[in-house]
Amino acid sequence: MQHNHKNMNYFVDEQGYYGDFGGAYIPEMLYPNVEELRANYLKIIADPGFRAEFDQLLKDYVGRPSPLYRAGRLSERYGANIFLKREDLNHTGAHKINNTIGQILMAERLGKKRIIAETGAGQHGVATATVCALRGLECVVYMGEIDIQRQAPNVARMKMLGAKVVPATSGSKTLKDATNEAMRDWINNPVDTHYIIGSVVGPHPYPDMVARFQSVISAETKKQLLEQTGSALPDFVLACVGGGSNAIGMFYHFLDDTAVKLVAVEAAGKGVRSGYSAATTLLGQEGVLHGSRSILMQTEDGQVVEPHSVSAGLDYPGIGPQHAHLFKTGRGEYVSITDEESLQAGLLLTQMEGIIPAIESAHALAYLEKMDLKTGQSVVVCLSGRGDKDMETYMKYFGL
């Protein structure tokens, strides 16, 4: 597919849109809070005091920059240079904390006293509970009942961090429903609460704000790649997509470098045509979910379809509006990987590099098997999180 990217804009416009996607489709009850955020977020992010505090916390508390590691044995296997961006080494074990640090500082500057969040795998919930403990703010995390069962260690971590974990018992009892419950909480608490959304989804300005906080991933990668290889630009960048925050973070500073191919890996679940899948771009149509116009899995009547993935973090029927735009314009290539392929890729990385990845991240790794890489090419894979939270799933699948 050939596109002329020269005149394309991949970033948000004044109205909160990425091409046809984005906007703020929210009930009036949420308007004052979302508008307050919209009117202030760019000013706050541009403020040198904010910047300094954000950078300091990322460095001393999160442990950034995260390493860019050239995976020697994987490189040999695939006949190309495979680099792993080690977001799994961040404090709390995933990229999610880059965003929660940014948003907690934002919430403080907006004078908010109470924090709510949704979580799927529990990584965003843990990252939110962590920053709330750090700053002494009240924290309530909504989590689907099914996810509470399959991610028990993260539930315990959130509780130990002082957060209240509220089960979402409606619908599919997973991430989508946890997001609905968080939005309902915000409607009912309109004054002192900030909602820390965990991905590049939700009404404008959330997708752009979260993307800016996560963009540290690609900013560092460019610098590290230049130091290690003499070129800041790889041939391919790979990341998994739930809502799409680690992928946007990984793509962000490469968006205008059109020589770099951006590959987003969705969860095919038990197979794209199995009825148990979360491969949004393949199975979805344009529509509105959780406050923005994007692509989502739905029936022809516009009812949202319940997705499936072995990885709770990818078990979401939509993608962020910027991804919908990258997909529609062809700037990004959207592919999918099954439950089984991801678990095998997780085992492979563990045994070839000594790194146990989150099953979400293993989806991105699994796509390496399907690429036709040439000697000398380089690929950066966003290793978005570590696999500790997934040990039970790995144990069951591999009979460990």
Binding site: Y25, E28, Y31, N180, P190, V288, D301, G302, Q303
Partner: protein, 254 residues
């Protein structure tokens, strides 16, 4: 002037509007309930078309929406059920629901179907003013449909004025910022808020809704507006199989 505007021009107080979910409790109850409501004395109907992810709704309407969807309700079927609406029901009817089912049905198709069956307007909580103005205002106008906007205690005066200028029919004043179905307790703050809006002398009539569940809360809120809206409390009653007329009598006291 459509039926909705006609209602507000002739009745100035204690207008009773009832919300219920189409296809609930049973798939074919939609028109039966409309007829019974009119016979019992309701002035205005808001028929909900169900959505899988109703973020502005509490447990009761979430539950009725889920059952309606499981019963097989969708917009296409709803408009078929409403084919006989105007031979059986005279009071104004609004459709209420979320934007995604409308988008998949096609917004123009939706407007045309409303016009054909005699629906007078709609309430779409997650279709914000900016989007409505940019994409759909002309369309709604050309089919003579009223689009009803919500305001809350946190809505700024400037925005209320803007909403007033874009509105036709009435403005939906939320008793508090809340999801549907949380029982209202009319406090001093609430009354101060109602008075504040009332004294703005908006060009559109006001209807107060959310949390109104009995005769007391109906009277108390309706006093500050042209009337009030009852949703969850009514839905709960029909879910329990209680007669429509008994519920309306318990509100109006007739």
């Amino acid at each position: 002037m459509n039926r909705l505007e006609a209602l507000f021009s002739k009745k100035k107080q204690n207008i009773l509007s009832i919300y219920y979910t189409a296809g609930y409790p049973a798939l074919n109850d939609t028109l039966r309930i409309a007829e019974e409501l009119e016979a019992a004395g309701a002035d205005l109907l808001e028929i909900g078309f169900p959505y899988s992810d109703p973020v502005a709704d509490g447990p009761v309407i979430q539950g009725s929406s889920k059952i309606a969807l499981d019963n097989g309700m969708n917009l296409k079927l709803l408009f078929e059920q409403l084919k006989d609406l105007r031979s059986r029901v005279n009071i104004p009817v609004l459709l209420m629901g979320y934007v995604n089912p409308m988008l998949q049905f096609g917004v123009e198709n939706f407007c045309r179907a409303c016009k054909e069956v005699g629906v007078d307007g709609c309430i779409v909580p997650d279709l914000p003013m900016a989007e409505y103005e940019r994409h759909y205002k002309t369309l709604f106008g050309s089919y003579d449909l009223c689009n009803i906007f919500l305001i809350t205690p946190q809505t700024s005066e400037e925005r209320i004025r803007k909403i007033d200028s874009l509105s036709r029919g009435f403005i939906y004043l939320l008793s508090s910022s809340a999801t549907t179905g949380k029982n209202l307790d009319v406090s001093e703050d609430t009354e101060a808020y109602f008075s504040r809006i009332q004294s703005m002398n908006l060009k559109n009539p006001l209807m107060i809704g959310f949390g109104i569940h009995d005769r007391h809360t109906f009277k108390k809120t309706a006093a500050y507006a042209s009337g009030a809206i009852i949703g969850s409390a009514f839905v709960k009653n029909i879910g329990e199989g209680k007669p429509v007329s008994d519920f309306i009598a318990s509100i109006t006291g007739t």
